[in-house]
Amino acid sequence: MSETPEQKPQRQDNSRVITRLLGSVIIMFAFGFALVPLYEKFCEITGFNGRTSNTAAVANYGMEVDQTRVVTVEFHTRVSRGIPWEFQPEVRSIRVHPGEVKVVNFYVENRTGKDVVAQALPSVSPGEASLYLNKTECFCFEQQPLAAGERAVMPMQFYLDPDLPEHIHRFTLSYMMYDLTDQARVTTTASRSE
């Protein structure tokens, strides 16, 4: 094909469009990864994924307890698949007034024949309630070493923020127990990002 005079400026045009499109591809690839911290931040602000804060809240004993409201908190425990542990709350649900500080004990028993390090991760449903659940003390803040056959009682102390929205009368706090023995061997610091 012979080169016509019109083909020259067009070729420059091509490289400009190609550069922009390749730039968009790179930006969208980066955007995919940027969604990870963005999603985390979004969930932290909105409680979208029901994860509670994993740092202890400061107990405010002077706080006014809202005697007019009663909220049912249900507890649910699970152990990650294939691990023969026992993990139970002492009660299935309790009724609390917003602002009232309560303690609930969880029982765990390592039925395996070896020492393990475990950690329970909380999740609240509906997620909106997670923003108003403040734990002043919780076993879920750190990893739990459990010797072979060992039993332990793990306390969780919490109160509900009196600002809890009116339409929430009941919510579920679920704990999933994970075996972190392999990860704990590598690093002793908590692997949670916060």
Partner: protein, 533 residues
């Protein structure tokens, strides 16, 4: 679209020079010709259509009766996974890229695609991607079995090592799609013949232009998601692992941020095809050309705001559910505009029912049925009933098989005379149409009922009360599958040039630059750009 008037001298180019190109395998390996590459894409997608289809038949054979008959559950899961992956990435998408390669330069009066060498590369990496994917069947534990949606933790914690092959072949397919999309955009922006303004472009070109931008926007996100799966599984990251601080639901957000635009990538070019064929056989210009363009752009824009309608049951806040429900329903408006325009184009037209038109008419009706079941699925409260049932399977097969695949068949029949230079076998093509139309409805329509009754998808066994309907569905599946062999016969006959020689414009009412060149289209067309007035 305004009438296209071409310079008369553009049609005689073919006789000016010889089709000088290497012969034999080298022609196909090293070709940079858009027609050769288009042909290879189309044959590749037809082969993959049969590979993916035979997996579907294995699924239907197992589901013919309740209980476990032919395959074990793990192999059944491999079948559902690979059927989905191959049909989406191996059959439907390459078919559209093949059509784009063949038709876009000829429709806009360009001599070739803008980036012919990249074009060669974007095709030739594709067979290797699927070779890698399919070779995973021979690994211990077999091919991926986590569904084409590869949700974490199924694809991370609970998958076999075939995941690595899955991820790499996805990377290659993504690269191929992105290169194809860049090529389409540059071609359309810079290679239009003088006088071919944006609003004079045929709708197939318009819909592909918008599709290409969707590909550029979402394929990199898919590449990111599969990379995260790979590093979660092998390199100790915890993007989707709750034990390490990640969130498995994040995977679904990432996947469907890609996945929903992806389903429009697989349907927008169909809209373009049908918008070319219906006016040709109704012998009337397309009703509402501009509104078609805007509707396509609107659908593409909205596709980025609806992804979480795939995730209503993950426990989203009510506000988010409502937002995604309303946004999803909003898509029915531009889609309705399109269906209205097609019907209005046919209104009082002098219609004839050649095979491409028959497939297009079937597309309009059956795609609309799929659209309606989509609106039903969009309703959050009832989605809790439909989620992960055969109702969903019925819905997306209506839009993908009797939608996208039927439009590809329509396109093939419409342009086969132009590609091959011979008329396809009319009797066989009509037989193919009627067999496909009847069997596709036997195959997918009853799925709505078992779905509403609660039969879950991706399960190799089912409760006894679903037995009769599943038997009917399986019969439909086998009829549909074997009907496609008629299409293969038609294609082979055309490729072997067995048939009546086709004139440059075999369809009386057809419009567009592609009909101004002889049939078969010469190796090089529009070396001298036509002038559109």
């Amino acid at each position: 679209m305004s009438t296209i008037v071409t310079d008369t001298h553009s049609a005689h180019d073919a006789h000016d020079h010889h089709d000088h190109h290497p012969k034999g395998i080298k022609r196909w390996l090293f070709t940079t010709n858009h027609k050769d590459i288009g042909t290879m894409y189309l044959w590749f997608s037809l082969i993959m259509f049969f590979v993916g289809g035979s997996m579907a038949l294995m699924i239907r054979a197992e589901l013919f009766q309740p209980g476990m008959q032919i395959v074990d559950p793990h192999f059944f899961n491999q079948m559902t996974t690979m059927h989905g992956v191959i049909m989406v990435f191996g059959a439907v998408m390459p078919a559209f890229v093949g059509l784009a390669n063949w038709m876009i330069p000829m429709m806009i009066g360009a001599p070739d695609m803008a980036l012919p060498r990249m074009n060669n590369w974007s095709f030739w990496i594709l067979p290797f991607a699927f070779l890698i994917m399919l070779s995973s069947f021979f690994m211990p534990g077999g091919a991926p079995a986590f569904g084409w949606t590869f949700y974490a933790p199924l694809s991370t914690t609970y998958s076999t090592d075939s995941t690595a092959l899955f991820v790499f072949s996805m990377h290659i397919m993504g690269m191929s799609s992105i290169m194809g999309a860049i090529n389409v955009i540059v071609t359309i922006m810079n290679m239009r013949a003088p006088g071919m303004s944006y609003m004079k472009m045929p709708l197939f070109v318009w819909t592909w232009f918008i599709t290409a931008f969707l590909l550029i926007a979402v394929m990199p996100v898919l590449a990111g998601a599969v990379t995260m799966v790979l590093t979660d599984k092998y390199f100790g990251t915890a993007f989707f692992d709750a034990a390490g601080g990640g969130d498995p639901v994040l995977f679904q957000h990432l996947f469907w941020f890609f996945g929903h635009p992806e389903v429009y990538i697989m349907i927008l070019p169909s809209f373009g095809i049908v918008s070319a064929i219906i006016p040709a056989f109704a012998r009337k210009p397309l009703f509402g050309y501009a509104s078609m363009v805007y509707a396509t752009a609107a659908i593409a824009g909205l596709s980025f705001l609806v992804w979480a309608h795939h995730m209503f049951t993950t426990g989203m806040p009510t506000f988010a559910s409502l937002f995604f429900m309303y946004m999803t329903m909003l898509i029915a408006v531009p889609t309705g505009v399109k269906v209205f325009n097609w019907v209005s184009t046919m209104w009082r037209g002098s219609m004839t029912f050649e095979t491409p038109m028959l497939f297009s008419l079937a597309f309009v009706v059956l795609f609309t049925i799929g659209g309606f079941s989509g609106i039903m699925l969009a309703i959050t409260p009832v989605d809790y009933q439909y989620h992960d049932t055969y109702f969903v399977v019925a819905h997306f097969h209506y839009v993908l098989v009797s939608g996208a695949v039927f439009s590809i068949m329509a396109a093939a029949y419409y342009w086969l005379p132009k590609w091959s230079g011979v008329m396809y076998d009319t009797f066989l093509s009509k037989l193919h149409f009627w067999c496909s139309l009847i069997s596709v409805n036997i195959l997918f329509f009853p799925m709505h009922f078992v779905g509403l009754a609660g039969m879950p998808r991706r399960i190799p066994d089912y409760a006894l009360q679903f037995a009769d309907i599943n038997a009917i569905v399986s019969v439909g599946g086998f009829l549909f599958g074997f009907s496609q062999l008629i299409f293969l016969a038609v294609c082979i006959k055309c490729a072997l040039k067995k048939g009546e020689p086709a004139p440059a414009k075999p369809w009386e009412g057809a419009e567009g630059l592609e009909w101004t060149v002889p049939s078969p289209a010469p190796y090089h067309t529009f070396d001298v750009p036509p002038v559109i007035k």
